[in-house]
């Protein structure tokens, strides 16, 4: 359905759907399949072209305890590994649902045409990964994310869902306490759209772009978490940023580009400039296959203590696989280093260093339905928080997208089915928002460049909220970010509305500043060392803080209010798993 809005100033189109999904990565597309299966009208908004979302960058695999190579594996073990890696800050109910349902989501992908590497018995092959007790990652070479997103994309193209490519949402619309749609614009033309929807699903990925060195694309600006926060949603665990242990370091243009954990899964060794396999000093048992938080800190420490490589990294060596083996298991990595760094990884080691990769925190959701505390608003995938706690296991993200993408789609569909409300809004909220979004283009006069402001923010976060943190530095960082917040109204851009990246960046900078502020504030509150949050001014984990999540909501004054919320005790059927394990040891 469409009709034209008629205002005194700005024409805009109106599009109406039962469910509006913001984000077209694995979670958004899986949600779309679920909602269309219920016969609902679905709209999917994507900032990029279809199939380019960050899911495509996932390389190593999708974790699910199908037990094809290690039959001893079980959902219970997957659940336990996930909680241990997350240092028990995880929402245990989400982790239980996740571990139980991941195998079905993998089989479903195969049913829809996805192709994985095979075992000699003709089953889906599985590889080892850091922190997983058993070989658990279903994979196809080192391009598993591409296989997932293409399969989902082709599945969604076969439905009736409308896809709004290269479209940016700037605001969620509410009526009373409910979310009833959104305002957005088409990047190509700069024309505005009022999306009316009975339910909205946030599936907008993370916010790695607040850091200078990141594996994330330009899209990872955290739009969804801020849009949700502005609409009243609770957000959780925002201090927990994952630094992937292995990003590229040289040449400069590729700094931060991901080197898949699959390299270590396939036996890659980490060495320092003295040739020592230093992981034995950090995790003697798991060595290179320790969890990401541990390996990232180890890599960082080796360089910090003067045992780094020429360009300030450590060495990752996969030469033992040989050219043939690498082309079979890690062909993308071979090409990436060959093309971009003139390095033949079958003959020489890679130089790597931690890179900002993933955001454990995000919008707090109900584990069963992915509903937020705001009626009509749902969230799934990286933008949602809770499943991964203080540190995510490699391979758990792809299964997260599908398990909770599906649940969000079904949750939203059930909500739409039960509701009788209209998505009409009163007043001129749409027009007010359009005016706000156009400001940097139309205000005129001298102002600040959004590109340079973004760079300034990235440098500040790199300096003050890196993977080793301390209170004084976090406070200094917060001061810098708040100063940037004050300068936000000065942003100006030139050019027209037609596909204007400067104007688009002027929207992003607001999200980056708001998220950075929240990260710094929650990192100041968590006075301990736990998973990805590593405070140098405190000695170890704090027992009391280990039972607490920090929940942030926008308070009455428009400021970030932080609440310490107790994690409910685990039910007996889950806690007994850990007790049995302890008894065995």
């Amino acid at each position: 359905m469409q009709r034209e809005g008629n205002g005194h100033r700005e024409q805009y189109e109106t599009r109406e759907h039962d469910v509006l999904i913001i984000g077209a990565g694995g979670a958004g597309l899986r949600a779309a399949v679920a909602a269309t299966e219920r016969g609902l009208s679905v709209g999917i908004v994507s900032k990029s072209l279809l199939g380019k979302a960050h899911t495509v960058m996932a390389e190593g695999g999708i974790a699910a305890s199908v037990g094809n190579v290690d039959p001893e594996d079980s959902w219970r073990q997957h659940f336990m590994d996930t909680l241990k890696s997350g240092k028990f800050l995880n929402n245990w109910q989400m982790a239980e649902i996740f571990a139980k349902e991941a195998p079905d989501r993998v089989y479903e992908l195969e049913q829809w045409g996805a192709l994985f590497n095979r075992t000699p018995e003709g089953k889906i092959s599985q590889r080892p990964f850091g922190g997983h007790t058993y070989r658990r990652l279903c994979h196809v070479g080192d391009r598993t994310g591409l296989e997932l997103i293409r399969t989902m994309q082709e599945k969604v193209l076969a439905t009736e869902a409308d896809i709004y490519m290269e479209t940016t949402v700037t605001k969620l619309l509410k009526k009373e306490d409910r979310v009833v749609g959104a305002v957005g614009y088409t990047r190509e033309s700069g024309k505005f759209i009022h999306f009316k929807a009975k339910a909205v699903i946030m599936a907008t990925s993370g916010w790695g772009r607040i850091f200078k060195v990141t594996s994330n694309s330009w899209e990872g600006t955290g739009d969804g978490v801020v849009l949700g926060y502005d609409a009243g949603a609770e957000i959780v665990d925002m201090e927990m940023m994952q630094f992937h242990p292995t990003g590229m370091v040289w040449p400069p243009g590729v700094r931060g580009l991901l080197v898949t954990e699959g390299v270590r899964g396939e036996g890659g060794l980490l060495r320092n400039s003295e040739g020592a396999r230093y992981m034995e000093n950090y995790d003697k048992e798991k060595m290179e296959l320790s969890t990401r938080d541990v390996v990232a800190r180890a890599n960082y420490t080796e360089v910090q203590e003067g045992r780094g490589s020429e360009h300030g990294g450590v060495y990752l060596d996969i030469t033992h696989l040989g050219y043939e083996g690498i082309m079979k298991k890690l062909p993308t990595m071979y090409e990436q280093f060959k093309n971009l760094a003139d390095i033949d990884i079958s003959r020489e080691p890679m130089e790597v260093f931690p890179t900002v990769h993933y955001t454990m925190g995000g919008i707090k959701v109900d584990p069963e339905t992915c509903a937020t505390n705001v009626p009509g608003l749902y969230a799934a995938g990286e933008v949602a928080g809770g499943l991964h706690g203080a540190n995510r296991l490699g391979g758990n993200s792809l299964s997260d997208l599908l398990v909770f993408g599906r649940r969000a789609g079904e949750g939203a569909a059930a909500f739409v089915g039960e509701s009788v409300h209209s998505a009409d809004i009163e007043g001129d909220a749409v027009r007010t928002e359009i005016g706000r979004v156009l400001e940097p283009l139309e205000k005129g006069g001298e102002g600040e460049s959004p590109y340079l402001m973004q760079q300034e923010l990235q440098v500040a976060m790199m300096e003050h909220a890196n993977l080793m943190r301390d209170g004084d530095s976090l406070k200094e960082g917060l001061g810098k970010i708040l100063a940037l917040k004050d300068r936000l109204p000065n942003v100006r851009v030139g050019g027209s509305r037609l596909f204007n990246p400067g104007w688009h960046t002027a929207q992003d900078i607001r999200y980056l500043i708001q998220i950075s502020e929240i990260i710094l504030r929650t990192a100041l509150e968590r006075k301990e060392r736990r998973g990805a949050q590593w405070r140098l001014d405190f000695d170890g984990p704090d027992e009391e803080l280990g039972r607490i999540n920090f929940i942030v909501t926008k308070n009455g004054q428009g400021e970030a209010g932080i609440e310490r919320r107790e994690i409910p005790p685990m039910p007996e059927h889950l806690s007994s798993l850990f007790e049995e394990e302890k008894a065995k040891a």
């Binding site: 829809w112 070479g141 599945k155 090409e335 204007n500």
Partner: protein, 277 residues
Amino acid sequence: MSEGNGKNPGNVTSMAHSPVPNEDLGKSGGTAKLKIFRGDAEGGQEVEYEVPLVEGMVVLDAVLAIQAEQAGDLAVRWNCKAAHCGSCSAEINGRPKLLCKTRVEEYDGEEIHVHPMRAFPVIKDLVSDVSWNYEVSKAIKPFQSSEQAPFTMYEEDVERLYEPKKCIECFMCQDVCHVLRTHHKHPEFAGPRFFVRNQWLEMHPMDEADRLADLKEDNGIGFCNITKCCTEVCPVDIKITDNSIIPLKERVASEFYDPAKWLMRKIRGNGSSRNGN
């Protein structure tokens, strides 16, 4: 860059995390000159820009540096910057290239002209309208199997599918294909990308749909006269002509031009029979 002093180990000293902008690391002292198309559907012209040359710089680095410092509204698509997503396709000196994978040094001494893909309508600057490709994709019969996953499939059954599955949808094969670029057969001809997709679907051991009639009629596979231009530009080295198009042409030929099958169709009056794998 901050120096390590032992007192504040949180103050990272690695140049890998140094706050110095990329363009200040590995600076060569030289510059790169790029002539970039600036314009839209109405027309436009090349504009020359100069940026500091940095070790290992790719054309996308140069374009983004220009965007950040000299031309804020310069339109370009990009995402992963690692040749995995296929977003930053454009034409450099008339050849389709991924901007993120093409080193500036490759053009040592030559002028670098950067234009949008020309087989599709220009939107603005380096961005062209590739939405037609998604319409073609939507019309292809998706994977279909009455078997219930998990499937039992052996490596030798599926290994030939890995190659077409590598496609990153950069659409450079579509851009270079003269059936589309020169002869504008956009409605009648699906283009190399979609023969690649048809190939894995048709060769998947568990797939049961029949796409041969569609390949002949809707996708116009007969228009391709195997000049291999598509294969030459594929950034992930798919042998599109040899491994995707020719095998599909053979299947279509044996389905529709085999005299025995033609006779069977006449007698039975049905359109097609399933051609096995």
